[in-house]
């Protein structure tokens, strides 16, 4: 499915899950991380996934991002049945369609900002120029700096540039501001907001921080492996107006 298609059929969900469960077995203990989660994400949706630690939000994100297999239930990316894909096909799925942003940036220290982004553009079918991606996140001046020469916020913005440079249909951000102070965090959220607006990427933001949920279209609250609450924000805040 291409970006253009998803725009035409706006009623079709970009990502769909039905009765997803996930059970981790650690020794003799079974941990039920997901206990039957169903959801639909639409193209250009920006969704916040809220919930306390252990509520299952990361597990859900991992399954949707093709990093982990569900124990039961189904997930579809467009018409593709994600829960049927093997490791090779999941790799291909992440490579072509998903952009990840991590809490701890996970930049490659031996590559400059541009090169970290180029790492992904080199293996994508239709990427934007690495420099353009960095321009979007406001780092046009720091193209040739290594991670060690960048602040935390700048590093996270490089990570965001890296995630969007492939023009993904889906961007998954796991606590993107978790390691940053609020001022820097807001800079990072602004970048996410801008990209979402410019590229119409379906975006999922995992966060502890309920304030951040105010900038999204929809909020899913998880607890004990279920979606316990879902609501649509009637008034979306701008990232720059958030405070915590």
């Amino acid at each position: 499915m291409t970006l253009e298609n998803s725009k035409v059929h706006e009623v079709e969900p970009a990502l769909r899950a039905r009765d997803l469960t996930k059970v981790y077995k650690t020794g003799e203990v079974e941990v039920h991380a997901l206990r039957g989660v169903s959801l639909e994400l639409y193209p250009a949706d920006m969704v916040a996934l809220l919930g306390p630690s252990g509520s299952g939000k990361s597990t859900l994100l991992n399954i949707l991002g093709g990093l982990d297999q569900a124990s039961s239930g189904d997930a579809w990316f467009g018409s593709r049945h994600l829960t049927d894909l093997d490791d090779r096909a999941l790799t291909q799925y992440r490579r072509a369609h998903v952009g990840f942003v991590f809490q701890f940036y996970n930049l490659i220290p031996s590559l400059t900002a541009t090169e970290n982004v180029a790492l992904v553009t080199e293996i994508s079918p239709d990427p934007m120029a690495a420099e353009d991606a960095l321009e979007i996140v406001g780092l046009g001046e720091r193209l040739h700096h290594f991670p060690a020469q960048l602040s935390g916020g700048e590093q996270q913005r490089v990570a965001i540039a890296r995630a969007i440079a492939k023009r993904p249909e889906l961007m998954l951000c796991d606590e993107p501001t978790g390691a940053l102070d609020s001022q820097t965090g807001i800079l990072v959220l602004e970048a996410i907001e801008r990209i979402h607006a410019e590229l119409n990427t379906t975006t999922v933001l995992i966060t502890h921080n309920a304030v951040i949920a105010d900038m999204t279209d929809r909020v899913l609250v998880m607890g004990d492996g279920h979606i316990v609450e879902e609501h649509r924000n009637t008034t979306k805040s701008r990232a720059r107006d958030l405070h915590w």
Binding site: G65, I108, V120, E122, F146
Partner: protein, 787 residues
């Protein structure tokens, strides 16, 4: 168990792959050293015990013919414990089914009872019965080479008459550990053998009734042989004594001791090298292993553990790993040592084997490894323990990389990001990268040094046999003969051309030094048997004076221009001062040459020869051999082709044993280095690689980054290894020098190739093992955890 100790045992289990790899490297070093030392120790001990149990004599002498009562006079000399006289002669044998004439050394044994000295180890059959003049005992290797057993027969020309002898038994003797025929370089059991017969039978056969021509003397412990030798020479001088000599100069013993010394050199240089490499690698691996544990160290400190306790924890880890390696190495060293010694014992034909290695070799190897491992640990633990706990628990800040000039080049810009990652990793830690390359390089170097022994042997054979010798048959006479003997031989079928040689047994003295030496008299310009130096240049002899090998020059401490005193030990026994007119380098032995005319003048004799080099027509050789078998005055016959063969067989056999062990150990080194480099890199950069997997990189693509780094380091190691091998060979060929051999510096291109291929194979094997770990990268953990 204290929690830290529990952590230790679990860490050991968790790190088992690396523990085994490091332990294997340590074990290789320990095993090679303890194997080599215990082998040479066992060989020395076995030889010593063999000599003692079988009463190997201390002094030996030859005479033309001496009356039996002289033995009693010798027995009365101070320091003499026992005396044994014999008849010892060489003669031509005809062994059924063997075309060439065979040279037999006949030695008498008492009619009844055991010889007082040089006792025989009877292997099978029995001793000849008194009064049975046709019964003979054969040396076991000779009998085996011809398939002779008790009950077989062979023919011999004894004093001009063919005699049919019956084999009644097979034996070994401490006197013939190395059975080297006259004029030969290596034992050739097909063409030279020892035959023991009753004394009366040999006295009758060689017209020595009531007389002897060979004497062996046993000395009381601690007796200096020199005064005894002088007395014996004095007593025997009227009877054609050719000069008594001590055990050190007895030919079999001289060869055996040279061989053991050669093995000792090998076992002192190469294994030490191994141990150094192993220690170096242990150090490198352990220090990186501990650096990875930095967070744990910070945590322990945060709990209140003292630096010393943390230090001890890692010291114990090191001790455990090194301990495993050392114990494995000891076991392997003992076992390989035993196997190795067995092979050698069989090669030397010792009738028994003493393998009771003392603790020294093992303690030495173990201690060296342990110290190296500890040194590697202590520095690193100290560095990590010095960090404040908070800082130690935080991951190290992202490593600082900088744009190098290289990074701005067009070539670099054309590279993809994964390639840039691996190149920058190498460039960022040049020392660490170099150490890995150096480790692999050392494995290559050790292989080159080991394998080049075989090249060196080829080179020796090439110069000694192929370049220098253009004759294919050499015939020696028991006594010196008039020069027309050469003419008579030239008439034999198939003989194309001949060249005479005269050898004279002498003592050469200079200052306080003295060497017994056979001086070879040859024509000033040789056509067949060249006087050749190590570089392959023929040497023309001046009309006067001695031209000697540099080895003999060293033994006598002379330089060209010095004048030495030469005392002939045969004929009229002249003594004269002769100048050294030239010196040349040789790989084998320590020869001395003179112009044959000058040598004959020195002896006060007319044109005289005692051996003839011949170039023959291969097609007519059977006819030639038939004729030669009928010439009783022949006491030696050497065929170049057979000599080349036995040289290769003997050298290759004794060297290959060692070399093959070294190859195995070098592979362990290469595997250990690359496996550990790979594993440590994986643990240091697992998060980075997992991130790439999350970003959509395939396993093959991240393998490229991880293994590409090892690959590049291996590529760097290849030329480095060749350079290391070259330098080590240079070092060793200089250090390796016995009176018998000098090892030339010779590395054939093949040797480089084989060494590189072996190390590449070991590297690939370890890469394959590391690659399998990439299957299990935890992709999810990287999203949440911070290293």
């Amino acid at each position: 168990m204290r929690p830290l100790n529990r952590k230790l045992t679990r860490d050991l289990w968790h790190l088992r792959g690396q523990v085994i790899a490091v332990a294997a490297v340590i074990a290789s070093g320990v095993a090679v050293l303890s194997m080599s030392l215990s082998t040479t120790e066992a060989l020395g001990e076995t030889a010593r015990a063999y000599y003692e149990r079988y009463r190997f004599a201390h002094v030996f002498g030859r005479v033309q013919r001496a009356p039996e009562y002289l033995a009693d006079r010798i027995r009365l000399l101070p320091g003499v414990q026992s005396v044994s006289t014999r008849v010892v002669k060489t003669a031509i044998l005809d062994v059924a089914g063997f075309e060439e004439p065979v040279i037999g050394q006949f030695a008498s044994i008492p009619e009844r009872g055991e010889p007082e000295l040089n006792a025989l180890a009877l292997r099978t059959g029995r001793l000849p019965r008194p009064g049975h003049a046709d019964e003979a005992l054969l040396s076991e290797p000779f009998a085996e080479a011809h398939g002779l057993v008790p009950g077989s027969h062979l023919r011999a020309i004894l004093n001009g008459h063919w005699r049919e002898l019956e084999v009644v038994g097979l034996a070994l003797s401490p006197e013939y550990v190395y059975t080297i025929g006259p004029g030969a370089l290596m034992p050739d059991d097909q063409r030279f053998g020892v035959i023991w017969m009753g004394r009366k039978a040999l006295q009758a056969a060689f017209d020595l009734d009531g007389a002897f021509n060979d004497i062996s003397v046993g000395l009381l412990r601690g007796t200096d042989p020199d005064p005894v030798i002088r007395e014996i020479d004095e007593l025997l001088s009227d009877y054609g004594g050719a000069g008594a000599y001590e055990r050190a100069n007895q030919i079999s013993n001289w060869f055996l001791m040279n061989e053991i010394k050669q093995l000792e050199t090998m076992s002192s240089i190469l294994p030490v090298l191994f141990l150094i490499v192993a220690a170096f690698l242990t150090n490198m691996v352990l220090s990186r292993l501990i650096t990875v544990e930095r967070a744990e160290i910070g945590l322990l400190k945060a709990f209140g553990y003292r630096n010393r306790e943390i230090g001890m924890h890692y010291v114990k880890l090191t001790l455990a790993i090194a301990g495993i390696g050392i114990v494995l190495g000891w076991a392997a060293g003992y076992w390989f040592g035993l196997m190795n010694t067995r092979v050698y014992a069989e090669f030397y034909r010792f009738p028994f084997l003493l393998y009771e290695p003392g603790p020294n070799a093992f303690i030495l190897a173990g201690a060296a490894s342990l110290i190296a491992a500890l040194l590697g640990t202590i520095n690193t633990v100290r560095a990590v323990a010095a960090l404040p706990p908070g800082e130690a628990m935080r991951p190290p800040a992202p490593t600082m990389f900088r744009q190098s000039l290289l990074a701005r080049t067009r070539l670099f810009l054309a590279l993809d990001q994964p390639t840039r990652i691996l190149l920058r990793q190498i460039a960022r830690w040049p020392l660490r990268s170099f150490v890995t390359s150096a480790g692999i390089g050392m494995a290559i170097g050790v292989l080159i040094v080991s394998i080049q022994w075989l090249d060196a042997i080829d080179r020796i054979a090439d110069v000694y046999f192929l370049q220098a010798q253009h004759n294919d048959v050499t015939v020696g006479f028991a006594e010196a003969r008039a020069a027309d003997a050469e003419f008579n031989l030239a008439q034999l079928p198939g003989v194309i051309t001949t060249e005479p040689m005269r050898t004279v047994a002498t003592k050469i003295r200079f200052g306080s030094r003295e060497e017994r030496k056979m001086i070879r008299g040859v024509p000033p310009i040789q056509n067949l048997h060249h006087v050749y130096d190590a570089d392959g240049h023929p040497i023309n002899l001046p009309p006067d004076g001695l031209v000697i090998s540099t080895m003999l020059g060293e033994l006598l401490n002379v330089v060209p221009g010095d004048i030495v005193t030469v005392e002939a030990l045969q004929g009229r026994r002249p003594t004269r001062r002769i100048p050294i007119t030239g010196m040349f380098e040789t790989y084998i032995g320590s020869p001395a040459y003179m112009d044959i005319a000058a040598l004959n003048r020195f002896m006060g004799e007319g044109p005289t020869i005692n051996s003839v080099h011949m170039r023959t027509d291969a097609l007519q050789r059977p006819a030639l051999f038939r004729e030669l078998k009928e010439i009783p005055m022949i006491s030696s016959l050497n065929l170049k082709a057979a000599a080349v063969q036995t040289f290769h067989d003997t050298m290759a056999e004794s060297m290959l044993i060692f070399v093959s062990f070294f190859v195995v150990f070098a592979c362990t080194l290469a595997f250990g280095v690359t496996y550990n480099a790979g594993r440590i890199t994986l643990s240091e950069r697992g998060r980075e690689l997992a991130t790439l997997r999350v970003l959509g990189f395939t396993r093959a693509e991240i393998s490229y980054i991880l293994l590409g780094e090892i690959g590049v380091l291996t590529l760097i190691a290849l030329p480095l290894g060749c350079a290391i091998g070259y330098s080590l060979t240079l070092l060793i060929s200089g250090a390796f020098k016995t009176e018998l051999f000098r090892v030339p510096f010779a590395i054939l291109p093949n040797t480089y190739g084989i060494s590189l291929l072996i190390v590449l194979a070991a590297t690939l094997a370890s890469i394959f093992v590391v690659r399998r770990r990439l299957e299990h990268l935890d992709l999810i953990a990287v999203l949440k955890t911070r290293e």
